[in-house]
Amino acid sequence: MGSFHGGVHPREYKGATEHKPIEIAPLPSRVYIPLSQHTGAPSKPVVKKGDPVKTGSVIGEQGGTISAPTHASVSGTVADVINLPHPLTGKLIPTVIIDSDGNDTLSEEIGEKDLSNLTSADIIESVRRAGVVGLGGAAFPTFFKLSLKKPVDTLIINGCECEPFLTCDHRLMLEKPKEIVEGVEFIAKALGVENILIAIEDNKPDAIDIMTRMTEGKGITIRRLKTKYPQGAEKQLIKACLNREVPSGGLPADVGCIVQNVGTAVAVREAVRFNRPLYQRVITVTGPGVKEPKNLLVRIGTLVKHLIEFCGGYNNTPGKIIMGGPMMGVALAGDEVPVLKGTSGIIVFPPEKEPDEGDCIRCGRCIEVCPMGLSPTQLNYHIKMGRLTKAKAGHILDCIECGSCAYVCPAKIRLVHSFKFAKSELARRQ
């Protein structure tokens, strides 16, 4: 069984939702759609207050080489286009607010397509127009990954879902295996790749079973991987599957590889087969602070508080709301925040005291678990002393912010906080 060096084994907490089928969340009466939900330049707004929109209409067009268009997730009227703080970064970003008419009228462009003469370029163009981005969390525009001009021999589909609590990818593999496989075939065709792997951690034997059956005779290999965080991180996944190491500062394509998430495969399938833009996704709403944890198919732009209400509300007072997984997700300042394309989960924790930071005792545990082979304690020391050039020489830019170091640190030092700060400082100084 493949694996990588380092990593941690946090408790999984997946039991609350892993056996619950995906439910469709009620259509929101109003959506807030930020025009920056992907890595790269924000989309440019093409609607204004009062414009009628249909579900799937373009509301923001691609804003640069690395960018993606953004679409309406409900039909109705544009209530406003204003700058609102981005849920994850807090930066003011143009946000399209749409009041739903409740009809969910689909844009005319959406519908079954004739796929008889489908070319690689057609697939990439459909994916681009549909605004598909990586649904694993990083939200990198998918068309761009598919059109890199580097020789690629292997496509890895990421079904690891190594973050605790999250089960949306697991449920997709159980409930939409055919759709995933079709999406995978489109991606493989776009890339011209014949070697296709679907990587799944061994804590999801039912998903491994179903995907194995669904891919029989299709030239797709199911790769069972050890359950270990961060198995689903791109570079660690490639190492575990192919024993290839993406060079420091490089991209998966440098070692002939492309990685796509299972959710992205479904989005690609919808884009290619039906011209359906990415205006909805599956997320897991869970955590000890939510009454009835669920896996939900939600419209992009739905407010977190409405999803929590649909899940029975809060268990007492929420102490922390996380967008994403507990290891890498972002703590929200409130629940009036929209779900984004890259949102894989909403996790609510009860109020708890944040552990105090102690002195480093040099136990070396952070080094043992760092999947990138860094020395977190020494990096943090340099950063605290203001020696950012030393931190850079210590390869801080290779840090993937997986949080393994801070997770194991017995002194509870906020290592990721320190590294994010240093990386942004280094970027600012350039």
Binding site: K239, P318, A331, P371, L374, Q378
Partner: protein, 348 residues
């Protein structure tokens, strides 16, 4: 957010943490040291307990005092000062005057630990630093105040050896007898016979069980190993340092010259005496003063083993554990620099 709810905590990821804390690690070490303390009381009587309690209390108080002096947070509950207190006591002869552990603890906590920045910043192990300081300042009290172990009659020697050599100097420890015992004997004795007697199975058995003279915590290899294995199994300490340390001593002792009459027993004699096991499992593994990476720890252990053997065979002391670990403590920043972890995707 509705008004009824309290403000949310907004912190940077990760949002879950492992249950391992500094305090848990430190108290686990204290727990592992308790059977050894029990052994010390069994072999040397209640005096052992009194010395240890004085040492612990002084270490805790001086650590807190140092923290107050430097305006640091007082962190007594993390247990680190308790460990230093116990280890300092374990490095003292059983019959030392009561003020010696007090002075030692003051030096360990204020000079070695707090002067250099407190927990995590000291560059040598506080207990060993204090021992070295005490040996240099009060050599008589530190090297002659032995007590006879349970069943022994004269302080500081293996009981059965004493029966055979009643005139042997009482301040000699097993290792000093093995090193230069011949010179201590009256002229009518044959040195070779003493070395043979020292390498008998009954001596080895007593060294293993602890029925021998020595510092409070160094006598029973059995109890030291029980605690050491507990710390290894609970992953509190890394096996690399004790293993590379002990193996290095084993190999060097085997190949280098010495008063060998029975090779296996000669090797066991060295491994079981002179605080080697105490040092290898409880002091060389001190996180703060040992290297960060696996590779660095192996180098550290080998270094400790080389220095221990060299000191034992040719140095001015017959034990060598304390100074070899101190030397490698000082070398640790250099080892860290030379053994960085392997960067993922490193370009050749």
């Amino acid at each position: 957010m509705s008004e009824k709810t309290s403000p949310l905590r907004v912190t940077v990821s990760p949002h879950i943490r492992s249950g391992v804390t500094v305090a848990k690690l430190m108290w686990a070490v204290v727990f592992a040291l308790l059977p050894i303390l029990g052994g010390a009381i069994y072999f040397f009587g209640v005096k052992a307990l009194i010395i240890t309690l004085i040492s612990i209390t002084s270490a805790v108080l001086f650590d807190a005092l140092g923290q107050l002096m430097f305006g640091r947070k007082v962190t007594t509950s993390d247990g680190s000062a308790v460990i230093t207190g116990i280890l300092l006591a374990f490095n003292l002869p059983p019959n030392v005057p009561w003020w010696l552990p007090v002075v030692g603890a003051a030096f360990a906590m204020i000079v070695v630990k707090q002067f250099f920045g407190g927990l995590g910043h000291n560059f040598i192990n506080p207990a060993l630093g204090a021992r070295a300081f005490l040996v240099a300042s009060w050599p008589t009290q530190m090297t002659t105040t032995w007590l006879a172990p349970r069943g022994g009659t004269t302080p500081g020697l293996l009981p059965e050896i004493l029966k055979l050599y009643p005139d042997a100097v009482s301040s000699a420890t097993p290792l000093s007898l093995l090193k230069q015992g011949g010179k201590l004997l009256p002229p009518n004795f044959v040195p070779q016979k003493l070395y043979q007697d020292l390498q008998s199975w009954s001596v080895i058995k007593n060294l293993f069980l602890g029925n021998t003279g020595g510092c409070l915590g160094e006598t029973s290899a059995l109890l030291l190993l029980i605690g050491g294995i507990f710390l290894l199994l609970t992953k509190v300490i890394d096996w690399r340092i004790p293993l590379s340390y002990l193996l290095t001593v084993l190999i060097l002792i085997t190949v280098l010259p010495g008063h060998k009459s029975n090779l296996l027993n000669y090797i066991l004699f060295h491994l079981l005496s002179g605080g080697l096991i105490l040092g290898a499992f409880y002091m060389a593994t001190d996180y703060v003063t040992s290297p960060l990476t696996h590779k660095g720890r192996i180098i550290f252990g080998i270094g400790c083993g080389v220095f221990t053997t060299l000191i034992r065979l040719w140095g001015g002391y017959s034990e060598g554990v304390c100074y070899s670990i101190l030397l490698m403590n000082v070398a640790t920043p250099l080892i860290d620099r030379l053994t960085p972890p392997r960067l993922f995707g490193k370009q050749k």
